[in-house]
């Protein structure tokens, strides 16, 4: 019974990484930018929740904070990312590494280093029992919102003309250009989406995680692991990898090997890279070969 609960919890746990990892994967796939600052946007989302909540409540912050983070993301995309689309990914990696530090220090200057308090809104507290499995009501809501966003993103990428251009841009940007479509506005939109999702994750996790300036660092590494395991350019690969990572971690704790639960994720990544260097469902992207 406990193991079943741990498996279920592990499956759900993966959803947190998903919101971060999907954005990372999208931005890298289309622009070739390895966005190490993604965790910083997550942290900014969490801090904005604290700023907006007294005026808008948690519900209002749920919209306002990710939108603000997305706008900030577009600004950064316009000013910085746009100069690095055609260059070696190592350069954008250095840039975003620097951005991440500036953002963390900025949060420290504005809000102070000690973690700030924020609790689950009263309406979302309590437990729900689903077929004998008692689980936090807040997490059920969290997973519902995250799942909805993932589904909406999939529909956007698969079923709209916007999505078709983005997917074509991932495969062959030159051909898209030859067809007379400028990828520039699409890049801005993808940055807004990806970074906005990171902001949303920040809002959703602020009530249950300590809100502090370095919180982005805590989530960025597992998110990268998820992207690597899932494979670049693959939507479902990232989804599957996020769930797999959550599952492996949860089960390791469940069976009494908690000390090795983090190491297990890296071991999983190692195995995947050994046998499927492109990731579980990684697509072949011509320009990265």
């Amino acid at each position: 019974m406990l193991l079943t609960q741990q498996i279920l919890n592990g499956l759900l746990d993966g959803v947190y990484y998903l919101l971060i990892a999907l954005g990372l994967s999208l931005i890298f796939s289309l622009g070739g930018i390895v966005n190490l600052a993604h965790g910083a946007f997550f942290a900014i989302g969490a801090y904005l929740t604290l700023v907006f909540s007294p005026y808008l409540g948690f519900g209002g912050s749920l919209i306002a904070a990710p939108v603000s983070v997305a706008l900030l993301g577009v600004g950064i995309e316009r000013v910085f990312f746009t100069r690095f689309y055609r260059s070696d990914p190592i350069l954008s990696l250095l840039l975003t590494f620097g951005l991440a530090m500036v953002a963390e220090q900025g949060l420290r200057i504005i809000f102070g280093a000690p973690p700030l308090s924020y609790s689950i809104p009263p309406a979302l507290r309590g437990q729900v029992a689903i077929d004998g499995f008692i689980y936090s009501f807040y997490r059920v809501v969290l997973i519902g919102i995250a799942g909805g966003c993932v589904a909406a993103l999939w529909l956007l990428l698969q079923k709209t003309s916007f999505g078709r251009v983005v997917r074509a841009g991932v495969q062959n940007p030159d051909m898209v250009g030859a067809l007379g479509i400028s990828l520039q506005p699409y890049m801005s939109a993808v940055a807004a989406l990806g970074i906005g999702l990171a902001g949303l994750a920040g809002v959703l996790l602020a009530p249950i995680y300590a809100v502090h300036p370095a919180m982005g660092n805590e989530i960025i590494t597992p998110a990268f692991v998820v992207v690597v395991i899932g494979g670049l350019g693959s939507f479902w690969g990232v989804v599957a990898a996020a769930i797999l990572v959550g599952l492996v971690k949860g089960v390791m704790v469940g069976i009494g090997y908690s000390a090795a639960s983090t190491a297990a994720i890296y071991f999983l990544m190692l195995l995947v890279l050994l046998f499927r260097p492109r990731g579980l469902f990684g697509e072949r992207i011509t320009r990265f070969d």
Partner: protein, 418 residues
């Protein structure tokens, strides 16, 4: 900020970021000439990383202490010039300590929170015969196998934390014949604390229902919470560190678990971060802002006036350490580290803002002083974001020796290297 020419790229980027924010300010180029009318004191503590939040309180407190000391005449008539640095990690801490001693000629070094960094600073202190006062590192080993003649400890050792809060657990009948579930941070501090906690449990007839090591980068505790719920322990014992305590408390409340909670290592900043409704349990503290003595109230008022929020226990440590150094130098009319060490070893008494003065134990240089066990207030009794707990009376009680909560020679023995 310090003005060392430490132009690593990280520092450069940080500086660039800071300058971007404070645009319009001129470059802070201060030429520091060696002069005889100031006395330099080094302050080293982690200001980034998972101990950074506590380090910030340490820095605020040492600034306040130096301000007060300088306003009342300084040390031997000379003003204190404070050199402050982020100790980052054990290697960097050691390098920076060495530079403070060799190049900047500091009279002593105060600070640190990480037990690992405290050890490397102590090695520099011992080699260069410079006084180092540890204000935040807890491990018993620093007062035992790794003890140093030039290192003194204002921070309590793990044994003192365990014995202090252990009294509350014994009083509340949470030990004898009870089953505990413990979560322990998987690094030196956690292991040391778990060892001391297990000794306490065995001596008092308790046992463990479960015992998990938690990786230091773990942020989600749901898997552990399901295990705890399933094990139905009588008590949940937390040996976590830093933000992990906050994460745990928030998620413990989220999952609606109601087993009594407590821990052996704690900082009030973590309680404040968990906040009303999430902060539960009973925890040990070297000091807290509600300690009811006139001296404490004066300190809290001065700190709150300067920074807009009350000090937490780490602030007390660095504040008191700085005051101890100034008082000693003024009393013995010398800033020579060896002379200070001799004076402290003789059992000099110091006002610690508590009900009775304290002293350093000569055998291991641990400050003997009163501690407190704090207990979270029920949500409906909380009036503001800071006063969210009640405190036990000082431990040990007025009729006991201060040493009763410290480790015995058998538990932890120190032989100073010559």
């Amino acid at each position: 900020m310090s003005h060392h020419d430490n132009f690593t790229r990280r520092r450069l980027l940080k500086t660039a970021g800071a300058l971007g924010v404070a645009s319009g300010l001129g470059a802070p180029s201060i030429l520091r000439a060696q002069s005889s009318d100031v006395m330099r004191v080094g302050h080293l503590t982690p200001r980034t990383g998972f101990l950074g939040p506590l380090g910030e309180y340490a820095v605020m407190a040492v600034d306040l202490a130096v301000e007060e000391i300088n306003a009342s005449g300084g040390m031997m008539g000379r003003k204190i010039e404070l050199l402050k640095e982020d100790s980052v990690n054990p290697q960097t801490a050691s390098t920076k300590a060495e530079r403070m001693v060799e190049r900047d000629k500091v009279a002593c070094i105060i600070g640190e929170i990480s037990s690992a960094s405290a050890l490397t600073i102590a090695q520099v202190a011992q080699r260069t015969k410079t006084l180092f006062i540890n204000t935040g590192a807890n491990s018993d080993a620093l007062r035992g196998s790794d003890c140093k003649r030039y290192m003194f400890h204002v921070e309590s050792q793990n044994s003192m934390y365990v014995k202090t809060v252990g009294r509350s657990f014994l009083r509340d009948n949470l030990v004898k014949g009870k089953r505990w579930y413990s979560l322990t941070a998987d690094y030196a501090f956690g292991h040391d604390l778990l060892r001391v906690a297990k000794r306490f449990m065995e001596a008092n007839g308790g046992q463990f229902a479960g015992d998990d090591l938690v990786p230091t980068d773990a942020t989600d505790f749901s898997a552990y919470l399901l295990k705890i719920r399933d094990a139905k322990p009588d008590f949940v014992a937390i040996n976590l560190a830093g933000n992990q305590v906050t994460n745990f408390l928030k998620q413990y409340a989220e999952f609606g678990l109601t087993f009594p909670v407590g821990g052996f290592g704690f900082d009030t900043a973590l309680a404040w971060a968990a906040g009303k409704g999430s902060f539960v349990g009973t925890w040990p503290c070297v000091w807290h802002h509600l300690v009811d003595t006139p001296a404490s109230k004066t300190f809290v008022a001065a700190f709150t006036k300067k920074y807009g929020k009350p000090p937490e226990n780490q602030a007390w440590g660095d504040y008191i350490a700085t005051k101890i150094v100034a008082q000693t130098v003024n009393e013995i009319k010398s800033a020579d580290s060896t002379k200070i060490v001799e004076h402290l070893e003789k059992g000099a008494k110091f006002d610690l803002l508590k009900t009775r003065p304290g002293y350093f134990r000569a055998s291991d240089h641990q400050l003997m002083h009163e501690m407190y066990a704090i207990t979270a207030l029920p949500e409906n009794q909380i009036k503001n974001q800071w006063d969210i707990f009640t405190s036990s009376p000082a431990v040990p009680g007025p009729n006991e020796e201060l040493e009763v909560i410290a480790s015995t020679k058998e538990e932890n023995s120190c032989t100073f290297p010559t």
